[in-house]
């Protein structure tokens, strides 16, 4: 859809920062408060890193797609990769077990994504690929 903004990145760690900047710029144009923009940046970064690392297995020839769709309700960001999606569901990190070395220190990305945005949904649709869909909603308080 042409009212979308689309970004395509090679699967190279570090390039998630480009997606963060692009998404932040769109969110700012929409008028989101800076704290909401920061939330979105972190969620988009984690989604891109997962897409590069787990979805595309760091194969730089595989692209991560970022599709930004604006409407009056808010901003939707889909992050697409060529993989089959996470098998697991989101679970909160157990900091006690992590701090004591009883579970891997990593494994917080999906939790952060879900905690920072208003909606987060993982969709697996091989062979075409998988995506996570993030939404931040316009603040309706003023209505």
């Amino acid at each position: 859809m042409s009212s979308n903004i689309e970004l395509r990145l090679p699967s190279r760690l570090g390039y998630e920062k480009v997606a963060m900047s692009t998404a932040a710029s769109v969110a700012k144009i929409m008028g989101f408060a800076s704290e909401r923009v920061e939330d979105l940046k972190t969620a988009v970064a984690e989604a891109c890193i997962n897409a590069m690392e787990h979805g595309n297995k760091l194969d730089e020839s595989l692209t991560v797609g970022v599709i930004l769709s604006m409407d009056s309700d808010g901003l939707e960001v889909k992050v697409l990769d060529a993989g089959s999606g996470p098998g697991t569901s989101v679970h909160a990190p157990n900091i006690d077990r992590k701090i004591h070395g009883e579970e891997p220190s990593r494994g917080m990305g999906m939790f952060l994504i879900q905690s920072l945005v208003d909606k987060a949904e993982w969709v697996s649709s091989p062979p075409s690929g998988s995506y996570v869909r993030l939404v931040i909603l316009v603040d309706k308080v003023k209505d």
Binding site: G14, E35, E38, A45, E46, P93, K98, S105, M108, G109
Partner: protein
């Protein structure tokens, strides 16, 4: 010419309660920061250093792999009976650190003075 790598500067400051070793981070904190963060930590003597202050005031970007490295640092510090205080995180990353629960093991302070004071005498 990429210059977003993590740099860690070690600094000793003295407080009423004794020496504090400050780890001042600059650059991004990501999966590529392992050597910079854990390597630098391993260079600190666990026998003489019991107070470690983490300074994030020059860090703009931290991702979940970077937070995992901070957790590993705290795991090692716990085994070495070292206390850790933290300052300089932006409000956003204070929220993120709180979400993952790190605040159970280190306090996030507004500035260096209050972070140093928190080690006690």
């Amino acid at each position: 010419m990429e210059d977003t790598g993590t740099r860690v500067k070690l600094e000793e400051v003295s407080s009423s309660g004794g020496q504090i070793t400050v780890m001042r981070f600059t650059g991004d904190i990501t999966s590529t920061s392992e050597v910079a963060i854990l390597g630098t930590y391993q260079g600190i003597s666990p026998d003489t250093t019991k107070r470690i202050l983490l300074d994030f005031s020059k860090v703009e970007y931290i991702n979940s792999s970077g937070i995992a490295l901070i957790i590993q640092l705290m795991y090692a510090a716990g085994k070495n009976s070292q206390a850790i205080q933290t300052f300089g995180l932006s409000p956003h990353f204070q929220k993120v650190f709180t979400m993952v629960g790190i605040t159970k093991y280190t306090s996030l302070h507004a500035d260096e003075a209050s972070a140093c004071a928190a080690f006690g005498d």
